[in-house]
Symmetry: C3
């Protein structure tokens, strides 16, 4: 009901604007001069055709727009594109990213940052539109947060992460390149893996009829629930849902492959995911052992505070990549880069990503961690052996010094005539006896 | 003669099928419903035009096909494509890969795997169609073997490694992307090197007339002997063949370049290949030295058995990437990644692959190996010095304890009255004399 | 004036050649047979249309051309393309590369190399056309210099670094792929960063109208001053020029974006550049500390001579990647690969290059350097503790040996009858007293 009402308001706003003639939008007089390319993108768009004007999306509060405290988020797009928003919210894109700008919670807000508050907050509200619980994000500079993290992770609230801002070209939105701008890189090279797989190569040669692209498998029939068909992240307890997602994905594979072939291919990737997880876990145990024995340098106590857990040692989901010891740095790469590359490579049918970019460095790095852990323990044992040697020598030396001191006192007494030569000789022999007994 | 006969049988089978009308193939009734895309690919193919039906390739044993114990290997394709098969067998693709599934020789065969036996064995035969002598392959899980290794390395017996399964689009087969699905990645980035070289860029801009792609140089006139013109792997003893291959390649380069320019470019790449080999060998010597002195952790004895050589230390062609020490892991990357990238980058005229992706990490990693080897030796020397110190101290302490013990016995005798005070004093002085002499 | 004269000479030469009819160029008779593709490229070019014949560029000295001592450098192209050359000389491409062949200055010149002298020297002149002051270049083999370095770094004197040699297709020259052949790789992945950014993806989808490519921002209106608009390398002292360059770049961004958005995006990248520089500097301090304390292995004295600074320790602009210790190798990657990737990724609006390929490995590697430095210091301390233990023991042992020696002499005297038993006992007790006092 609320959606209908909102949609109605937008439509009325659009009609009012259009009533002023299309070109009569209050923004155009200036913006045709100030930002002509933006206006031109819009004029080429379906929005223009359907008389969706500037104010329809940006609202009519010109002041707020110029102060950049008004923004166009997913809920605004959803007033017209309700089905897409509902699907989006059911996907990893829309539900569980828990990433975005941490401005109001964990940092002092600079004037520069305040201008951007509207990207995350409804005006006047301290509650962010997006909860930020990503330690890795919180450990970065505001500039890296914006350019490195939020550029992708604001997808929860920002439709223009995939869609161009003022154009409405669906071809562009569906283009695998669009997905690739985020789904690439060492942490999840889906783009690279698909692009150089038989699927990607055939798609490039002959388009959608010849082979699947991202949307073929992950946005069937234009659904914005991009997580549909992915059983990988579903907890083992939810076997029903796991099977349901797999069945959906197999129905897509089966459009070109036999079900037997597809079933085995995806089952192979499942096993590879489990195998990589086991290798990561093996490395984790080794590092936890080193940490327990105080062999990590810097020690957790010597590190800057973890944004969520302070001085606690973190090697789980909220692990940072700052202030690590060498073995932890290697572990980070295993967990965040190579393991993901190996199994996502397998799920995207790319032998090089599964094996050479994934499995090989994963196992090589596990070897490096083990070997370096052995060196750390070897060096530690040397230190302990020196401690033992040192303490033995020190104890002996202490005893020795003690006797020397007593002998000096005895000699002084003799020299002062306080004891006779015979007394001195007797006491001296007694002292020497004690020393060797 | 046998080939002719086989070809005849296939032709007759094809004609018989065609006699039942094209659509009359026994498979189609079901498969048009079950796997419509596959049928459609075939219907768009030259095979369909020439009445090469399902049974022509898959045989008429429907049971075997449904059990997946019948398979279409290179020899089947060769019954019609005899020249292509002969060329293929003379190339590295067809002769010497020695890779594939190791199911029947080195592992217990699971039910899952048995279903795939036909991919490697003729029914009833224990001898694999492909010999498996690749230790790296044998050390992987069956899933990684399938998804990571065999996807490329079955090219020996499987034409569909390059050709699509049910289509016959030669444009697709010749597309550089098709070669790239295997000839990419850290172990041999020919695809990446070519693609971002002037050749690759010009080819992308203006096609085959403007610049060479993979097939221009490596499959001249459609030859399936992809090794023709490559002198790099030819043993130094076979100078005649080496020169012959080079002359062939120069004849291709000379279609666009002066012979002088091409000769020097390829000679440069030859030298770079030699130089990288020398750097790899330098690293190998260092590691063999460490191994001889027992400084690798884990030691070869502590590792899982090598699939071919058991507990023997392997750093040659059959080196694994499991259970390595840190310096060996670095060596593996030098040998398998950076050296190959440097000289294959040079052969494909790509400065960034020759230098920044190849030469620079190759030399950096050699430095890392040397530096880490120095650290291992330094730590080892510390251990030996402590051994020496410990043994000195221990010897002295032993002597000391011995005298103390004798003194205690002497004192007991005195206290028991077994020896006189004078006797005691004499023996005691004798003991003390012994200690300091 | 000299330019005008030179241009006139070329024009006259061209007209004279053309007078012999286009096909009448003295080179064509042979080269149409010897290098038909080169001739064909030329025949398809604007040069052919405008009667710019072989001799117009290569000169009429056939002997010199066949000996490869005549060459076509930028100044030759500039006789016609004066504006392009002037712009080029004002850019980083044309002024400050200081890279090229080091043949005549630092190495013995082989016959092979001498043939290429004309690429760098005017005939008869020892002064290279390009000054070579790049230590990294000088440390490479001549083959790697040619294939890995000069292929890009001769851009200062060679227009064919970007333009094809005998064609004049401006589309090819402007193609982002052309720039990419050099501006790629770990040392400055501008190509990769742009290509997988929204800009690159939209450009690939819909061309120049949809999004900027390299030339849009860096060669506005066809200017060959590719450094225009880049404030990043401008020294902080030249604030005026810094602001001027930034203003120019913002004028380009503003063709599509609001000025506020563009200003903040570029300011973010500025901050990220500063932040990465600070992290690199932190690592540098650590390594300089290790070097000061003699903890780098190999030590600078143990290394081969640095081409410019001999045995001096170099970790600044002329750092090599040979003969480094492990921490220096890691530092090289921070400085030359990850820092550059992070901020150039940000300047090209690519979150994955800014963050996952840049910032994350930059910080991980800093951690690795710190952790390894701590290990080196720990091992060094162990060595010193053993030295102390050893010297203590040795001192004690020395004292001990001294007394033992004196006791032996005393005993000998007693046995020889040189001293009485009482004298012996007295002297012996005195010695023992000394020992414990």
């Amino acid at each position: 009901m609320r959606h209908l009402l909102a949609a109605l308001i937008v439509m009325i706003a659009a009609m009012v604007s259009a009533g002023n003639s299309r070109a009569g939008d209050p923004c155009l007089a200036c913006h045709e001069k100030e930002t002509p390319a933006i206006v031109q993108f819009w004029k080429n768009s379906a929005h223009f055709q359907k008389q969706v004007t500037c104010v329809a999306c940006h609202g009519s509060d010109i002041e707020a727009n110029h102060r950049r405290t008004a923004t166009v988020d997913a809920s605004r797009c959803g007033t017209c594109h309700a089905k897409a928003l509902t699907d989006h919210k059911q996907s990893k894109h829309g539900i569980s990213l828990k990433a975005g700008r941490g401005c109001t919670r964990n940092q002092t807000v600079s004037e520069e940052q305040q201008k951007s508050c509207a990207l995350c907050h409804k005006p006047g509200s301290a509650k962010p539109l997006v909860d930020v619980e990503c330690a890795m994000f919180l450990a970065q500079s505001p500039e890296m947060q914006r350019q490195g993290c939020s550029a992708c992770h604001l997808v929860e609230t920002r439709c223009d992460t995939c869609h161009t801002r003022h154009g409405t070209d669906l071809g562009a939105a569906r283009d695998p390149g669009t997905c690739s701008t985020c789904h690439m890189g060492p942490d999840h090279p889906q783009a690279e893996a698909w692009e150089t797989s038989r699927h990607g190569v055939l798609f490039k040669q002959a388009g959608r009829a010849a082979a699947p692209s991202c949307t073929t498998c992950h946005m069937q029939a234009g659904s914005h629930n991009v997580s549909k068909g992915i059983s990988s992240g579903v907890p083992n307890e939810e076997q029903g849902r796991k099977q349901e997602e797999r069945a959906f994905m197999l129905s897509i594979c089966s459009q070109c492959h036999t079900k037997a072939f597809s079933t085995r291919s995806l089952a192979d990737a499942d096993r590879i995911e489990e195998q990589t997880a086991a290798l990561v876990d093996e490395a984790k145990q080794i590092i936890q052992g080193l940490q327990k024995d105080g062999l990590l340098s810097p020690s957790p106590a010597e590190r800057r505070d973890h944004p969520l857990f302070g001085k606690t040692f973190v090697i789980g989901p909220h692990m940072l990549y700052e202030d690590l010891s060498l073995v932890e740095s290697l572990f980070f790469k295993m967990k965040m880069f190579y393991a993901l590359t190996a199994y996502k490579g397998a799920f995207h049918q790319n032998p090089d990503y599964a094996h050479w970019f994934g499995n090989a460095p994963l196992k090589l790095t596990l070897s490096e961690i083990k070997s370096q852990a052995a060196l750390l323990r070897q060096v530690d044992r040397l230190g302990k052996r020196i401690d033992n040697l040192g303490s033995t020598t020190k104890a002996e030396q202490g005893e020795f010094e003690d006797i020397k001191k007593k002998m000096r006192i005895l000699n002084e007494k003799r020299l002062k005539g306080e004891i006779s030569e015979t007394e001195y000789q007797g006491k001296k022999n007694k002292l020497l006896n004690e020393k060797v007994q």
